[in-house]
Assembly symmetry: C3
Homo-oligomer: 351 residues x 3
């Protein structure tokens, strides 16, 4: 898609890395070591890829110092390879065109304040008292509720929706179909068994450099705000309940579901399909890693790697085991009985 | 966010509760007993919060009769505390501004009927033969398909989508990104292994006082309608397949997934991440509670609380146990063999 | 909803089936054998429904040759009953009205090419260099990014979003709220622990006759494309990560989550709530069936039916078993000890 290109010298300087080779080589794209073509830059991040180094067509390879003696005549960029590749890739990222200014089909409330350097796309709706700072892009048909604050260079992709009272930090991105600030889920039965809503009067505070994936929803707080701290990366189809706090630089992968009033620490990683929630308030300390599809129903007080769930199996075999799971406690007691009997038997034998 | 305020007398009267204290105190917000400020009302709903009662700054506390002898000089509102708090909170709820009438950027089909007391927001699209009753609000960019019926005071939040042939009951709310009436998922392979769709010709009937969360999807029926009965509360990211019936006043928490042709009884509670479905039609009777992440593959015929899944654990420990699960049936047989052998051994000993 | 009708002769000819009975009978709808009314056609696909055959009100029944001797005087259409029913149902499917041409409220970039036989609905936004072929329908408020290609007779339902560089094959349908081409989820920590994005420079290629459900998201590739092959059917709320390949004619039911770089073979079936992903690249061969809520963390190299998870149970009983699961490896060792002791005891007895 891209027609951008850079010299290797420009690229190495952007990555802040040492260059071994011709600084004038033109790099017009990125590639995997195995499949990269001439004019592309690649990276050697894991040992399993070393075998591709000798024959790669890549015009340059980002690698660490220790790998420098390997391989052939292409140029080398000496850096943390995957981080260098990430930074290099950002040079080639291209956002869709969106002109600065307010598209004539957008509907901006007269009490909203849009910085003249912001871009408000077609069909966008901005509510009263919202503030949109410089460099912000509100893409097609996105909606910004009343009293929202969208800070510098933040980005709403098409169809992102912010309810009222959401603040979005600088450089944060909200992907299409994501909804921030929807009502927290709180009801209590009345005398007749009908469910009465608890009005959700808080908002949502999203920090800087946060990414929020497609179709993800983050509820507003009941009284105080739901908080997503700086640098948090949230994938698609994630659900975050009211009054959660997600600690800085944590990663929430696709399909994660977090109930209300859960606190996740900083630098946590929740792999795909993880669920966290339970009775009362639950807290995960900093540095907790949860592997895919783990369900956590209680607080975790020590950093570390945690898992849950059951491995897949041929259905006939799984079924037999799953049925036995229903009697696992009884099995345990049967074993305890056997242990007792055998101990007695052996004692008798001794006598 | 709110600048609303009420006297304590007004509030007690709204909650239909007895007031002990000064009816003229002005209440401008709600707060938790531990953190409420002067001018706020709080509630004492669980024993764990009693310790905050003596020192709370709240100007009034909703509590039950039995707790009246506790605490200090603030005013008391005598009621079911959490229900009273819920009703009180509703006084402070504020919907975003939306003017009655049809926004000039909305596209309403000439055969649609919009009550003059309804509000149709910017970018909204309404199809032929749709009927929108008084007090309804269709917020920014929402879409109402052909032949839909939106009953009094119902509310579509921005970007809610109703396909054709959906009826939405009075006072129901559909949050942003929710889709109601999408095609049920029905395919059958033809002679060549290609999947032929079964056309989905039913609609969706949603009752009164229903809440449908952000990003939730509810499919239309194949022949007859999918039905959501009165008072059902559905959280975000929930999936409900075609021809389901969800019984009145049931609660479906976030990330619940329900396959096609499932019937859920009345006053059921499905906690977050629950899945229900299987071969053929599945039914859960009234009053079934499923705890978080439980998977139900067969009907449940007795009311009660049901659970499933596996607890989290440190990964190294989990892995050893998960591997043993794959041999659980064999373990069971090993224990049975031991029991038999030991019985025989002991019989021999007796002889 | 439908006012369409066909003669039984037309219907049998459409289904390419033999007709026994009056070809002039008017069929105006479809029904289940148990509840169909006069004027409707039904099908006898499973033995369990044979009991309804004698008294069904259906004017015609699709059944297989072997069932012909059963039942009463209604007309018969001899075919694979469920496939015949599917094909018959398609006659009654009606899309909402959408006029050919570009709605005046749509925003089409001057460098986009729209076939004069395509329909571009209200509020639709089409980016630069996009190409929209004949017979395509872009329904209300949908968004088509730059350089997208929408092939003949494809269909975007209201609020579907395609990011830049997505191609959608002929006759494919994207339901409301679905997002195709959102950024893949790739980050790596920099020296300070902040997460740097890997720019996602690939696109998404969706084949012909694909169905993509409401609220589903499919990420663009990091370098190369994410690929959905011909005839794949994807239900609602599904998440597909970057650089996945989903093989032709596979079925992904609701709430399935697939991590990045997963390859699913052809003719696979992933039931509701299935999760697939893990470290590195994972591959499922052709013909793999995964039952509901199964989590797959490693490749599957043999076709077959696989399952995972734990069955539901009354909570008190489940809890006892779930706690024992945490000690399953130890239980196994206890049994091994018992086996050893008993072997020794019996050997001693023999002596």
């Amino acid at each position: 898609m891209s027609e951008l290109s850079f010299t290797l010298g420009e690229l190495a300087s952007h990555v802040q890395a040492r260059l071994i080779g011709d600084a004038d080589v033109v790099i017009s794209g990125l590639g995997s070591l195995a499949t990269a073509r001439v004019g592309e830059i690649s990276h050697l991040s894991s040992a399993g890829y070393r075998k591709y180094l000798a024959n790669t067509q890549a015009s340059a390879v980002i690698m660490k110092d220790a790998d420098l003696q390997r391989g052939s005549g292409n140029a080398r960029v000496v850096a943390n390879p995957y981080l260098g590749f990430a930074k290099g890739s950002q040079l080639f990222a291209q956002l869709p065109e969106l002109e600065v200014g307010v598209d004539p089909t957008a509907r901006v409330h007269e009490l909203a304040v849009i910085d003249p350097d912001a871009a408000v796309g077609p069909g966008v709706v901005v509510g009263a008292d919202a503030r949109v700072e410089a460099g912000v892009r509100l893409d097609a048909n996105s909606v910004v509720g009343e009293r929202c604050l969208i800070q510098r260079d933040a980005l709403l992709m098409p169809h992102a929706v912010l309810y009222a009272d959401v603040s979005l930090g600088a450089r944060s991105i909200v992907h299409s179909g994501a909804v921030i600030g929807s009502d927290g889920f709180g009801f209590t039965p009345d005398e007749s068994g009908r469910l009465q809503p608890i009005a959700q009067l808080g908002g949502v505070k999203v920090g800087a450099d946060v990414s929020i994936g497609a179709g993800t929803s983050i509820d507003r707080g009941a009284i105080t705000d739901t908080v997503i701290e700086d640098g948090v990366k949230i994938d698609n189809q994630v659900q975050i309940g009211h009054n959660c706090r997600i600690g800085a630089h944590s990663i929430l992968c696709g399909c994660v579901g977090i109930a209300g009033s859960v606190t996740i620490g900083k630098h946590c990683v929740l792999a795909g399909g993880v669920g966290v929630g339970g009775d009362g308030e639950i807290e995960l300390v900093d540095g907790v890693v949860l592997s895919a599809a783990t369900v956590v129903l209680s607080s975790i007080t020590e950093p570390g790697i945690y898992s849950g769930g059951v491995l897949h199996n041929a259905t006939t075999r799984w079924k037999r085991n799953a049925i036995r799971f229903q009697e696992l406690d009884r099995l345990n007691r049967r074993v305890a009985t056997l242990e007792k009997l055998l101990r007695e038997t052996m004692r008798d034998d001794d006598v």
